[in-house]
């Protein structure tokens, strides 16, 4: 970056330039980590539900979207803080209803059928949102009291709200971790993942546990949506956009593996945000082997900046993983 001008600069200017690049990389890493943590918040619920019930909940990202829209609706009435507490609870309620009255109804037809039903639900939810709030993004913003710079590097402010999102996501993992490892309910949940019949035979109410886990997973997604919706855009397409990313995370990490989900979330979050901040293009790489001019002539993808292709990078990571290690980073062999 900026390499062509470097010889003209005085040594301090070079140093300053290097510092700027370094700061940008720090920003990108921080952004990526926080985005990764958010991805994890959603994929953790998905993984938990899948591990336990074998259901791949296609509507999981829709719960994320509902969280954002509920919080937006509640905010004027209750204020931001109550809104981001209430909206995950509402989403959990919807999740419980879905599990109790829809998923349980089709359980006998197998997991593919459950996946399809949740797919249909995601369509219904997206359409209801469009009907109620319109097709375009709504004006859900970071509240004024949280909208300030946490610190600044090279004169660029870093928004406090990003750190706030990362903090909430981190707090959530610690909570999940403690819940799963330290509480009686957590032990039942973990064993129900492996041996549902056994747990049921021991007198635990497995359907209730399932319902609870489904609601909890939904609430996690809802909370992620309520918090992140204020920072990123809140529109009826957000479920699909995030949902696809979460699926990529799950394929890369391996379903049912929390560690895998975490690693893949961070990997994808960070590469994504590094790419966004980069001016690199394929033609640059080809220039190294003397094909630069040819690439410039061809144009198209070869001269498209990596930053504008950032959205496609996670998919390429997924393809790479599929070729090299089809069962995912930490997945068991099927």
């Amino acid at each position: 970056m900026g390499g062509a001008q470097a010889p003209a600069m005085s040594p301090p200017a070079i140093k300053k330039g290097m510092g700027l690049v370094l700061d940008q990389i720090i920003f990108a890493l921080l952004n990526g980590t926080i985005y990764g943590l958010l991805l994890f918040m959603v994929s953790a619920g998905l993984t938990l539900i899948f591990g336990m019930m074998g259901v791949l909940n296609f509507a999981h990202a829709s719960f994320y979207m509902l969280g954002a829209y509920f919080a937006y609706t509640l905010e004027p009435l209750t204020g931001f803080w109550i809104a981001i507490i209430l909206s995950p609870l509402l989403v959990a309620g919807i999740g419980i209803l879905v599990e109790r009255y829809i998923l349980r109804h089709v359980h006998a037809h197998g997991h593919a059928h459950e996946l399809l039903v949740t797919f249909g639900l995601s369509v219904v939810i997206a359409e209801i949102i469009k009907m109620a709030y319109g097709k375009f993004a709504i004006d859900y913003r970071v509240p004024v009291e949280l909208n300030f710079a946490a610190f600044s590097l090279s004169g660029i402010d870093y928004p406090f709200y990003r750190l706030f999102m990362g903090g909430i996501a981190l707090a959530m993992f610690i909570a999940i971790y403690l819940l799963l490892t330290r509480t009686r309910v957590g032990i039942v949940v973990r064993s129900a993942i492996y041996r549902p019949q056994m747990v049921e035979a021991l007198g635990h109410n497995v359907p209730l546990v399932f319902m609870g886990v489904f609601g909890f997973g939904a609430a996690l997604a809802g909370l992620a949506g309520a918090v992140a919706g204020a920072f990123y855009t809140t529109n009826p397409n957000m479920a699909l956009e995030l949902g696809v990313m979460v699926f990529v995370v799950v394929v890369v990490g391996g379903l049912g593996s929390m560690g895998g989900a975490m690693a893949a979330s961070l990997l994808i979050g960070i590469t994504n945000s590094l790419a966004v901040g980069s001016n690199f293009m394929l033609a640059d790489a080809l220039a190294l082997v003397g094909l630069g001019a040819w690439a410039q002539d061809i144009g198209g993808l070869l001269t498209t900046r990596l930053s504008s292709l950032a959205a496609t990078i996670p998919f390429f990571i997924m393809l790479l993983v599929l070729v090299v290690r089809p069962s995912g980073l930490m997945g068991e062999k099927e």
Binding site: H111, L115, L116, G120, V244, G300, L301, T312, F315
Partner: protein, 408 residues
């Protein structure tokens, strides 16, 4: 089973007579229905027969559509092939892209497969805007049909017959395919891929090949779409195309051979009919899908085939009676639900909200009557009908179950 060939002949005759039976705008809808039917059949091969659920079939439809447009524009507009053969280009590109995508996605099975297909389609959708030469950017690529073989292809009737010929040929080819060894192995893949491996088959290669065949027919459907509208835009790569084919095929029933085609055609027909009446057709489509999956897991055609599989005259009459009763009850609930949805849609629309700010809460006209949103009437009417309908369905189901038990 003697009914099969006769009804098939009747349907084909009706399709052939269509241009003389319906008006121009309807004929256009009929073309859309045929394309949707073929696309759903391609999806049905993969999903129903081989048990691999794809959420990203728009990709192969879209690739076929773009390939056809470029083929039409080739040689300064002369076209790569005569117009009637252009779908072959869609078939070829569909097949090749299906081989590539199939190689990756069939590396995994089950829900992973479904997620990968979705991700691949989204990848193409994300790349498309950056590949202007190929996908034409915002404006898309347009073209026009050249005359060939003594046809001008200027009239909609000729386009209709071209689409019909390709759709029928493709469906016949799919039928024959299902009878081949590879078609049988598709069933084996769905039923028990693990066992297939231990019988000495290469399941990854089999899966890839079946994926590619499915993508090939999706490509033909896409090419027909381009021929029809004489353009392609990267809207055809969007997720709602993939969504529609999943919904349509499963509403029809993917395990019955013509189930997806019927689902695709019927849902497209309703989409066309209701386009002036409602703005939320996709919502209805989603709700119908969820209800079908919950209460008729084999799909509507699947359910019908199942019920009429061993008919006796008395049995059929009684079955028809039961079905009419149920349909009646469902219709009551549906009218209530439709009323509520449409009322809410109007209440929440931007136009109405603007009115509220200016003039309070004006009445909403629906079902040729005026309803005040602040009164209890519209809500009571909608919810009441729904409740009555659901109560009727439950009662009828209980009665019929009791009768069945009494007979058994």
């Amino acid at each position: 089973m003697k009914l099969g060939p006769i009804s098939l002949a009747v349907v084909v005759c009706l399709l052939l007579a269509m241009p003389w039976l319906v008006s121009g705008s309807f004929l256009n809808a009929a073309i859309q229905m045929l394309i949707a039917a073929l696309f759903a059949m391609a999806f049905g091969l993969l999903c129903g027969r081989a048990g691999m659920l794809s959420f990203g079939h728009a990709a192969y439809f879209g690739v076929g559509a773009f390939a056809a447009v470029h083929a039409m524009n080739a040689f300064g507009g002369e076209g790569l092939l005569p117009t009637p053969l252009l779908p072959l280009v869609g078939a070829g590109t569909g097949l090749v892209s299906g081989l590539v995508a199939g190689y990756f996605s069939t590396k995994r099975t089950g829900v992973y497969f479904a997620m990968i297909t979705l991700a691949l389609a989204e990848l193409l959708h994300a790349l498309a805007p950056h590949m202007k030469a190929m996908f034409g950017g915002e404006a898309g690529v347009s073209s026009f049909r050249m005359p060939a073989w003594g046809f001008s292809f200027g009239s909609i009737t000729e386009v209709y017959f071209l689409t019909l010929a390709w759709t029928l040929l493709s469906i016949a080819a799919l039928y024959l395919f299902s009878k081949t060894p590879l078609g049988s192995l598709a069933l084996g893949l769905r039923e028990n891929a693990h066992r297939l491996r231990f019988l000495g088959y290469n399941t990854h290669a089999l899966g890839t090949l079946i994926f590619a065949v499915s993508a090939m027919f999706a490509g033909i459907a896409g090419a027909l779409q381009s021929l029809n509208i004489e353009a392609a835009n990267y809207v055809v790569l969007e997720s709602h195309i993939s969504t529609a084919v999943v919904l349509n095929s499963f509403i029809g029933g993917v395990r019955v051979f013509l189930g997806p085609a019927i689902g695709g055609a019927v849902m497209t027909f309703f989409g066309h009919v209701t386009s002036d009446l409602t703005r939320v057709w996709l919502l209805y489509q989603g709700i119908i899908f969820v209800l079908v999956m919950m209460f008729m897991p084999r799909g509507i055609v699947g359910e019908i085939v199942d019920r009429f599989s061993a008919p006796t005259r008395a049995g059929i009459l009684r079955l028809l009676g039961d079905i009419c009763l149920r349909l009646g009850a469902v219709a009551v609930a549906a009218i209530g639900a439709i009323f509520l949805i449409e009322f809410l849609q109007r209440l929440l629309s931007n136009e109405y909200r603007a009115n509220v700010a200016a003039a309070g809460w004006p009445d909403i006209t629906l079902f040729s009557m005026d309803w005040s949103p602040l009164s209890i009437q519209p809500w009571g009417f909608g919810l009441g009908l729904m409740a009555v309908g659901i109560a009727l369905v439950v009662t009828i189901n209980r009665r019929l179950a009791a009768r069945k038990e009494a007979e058994a």
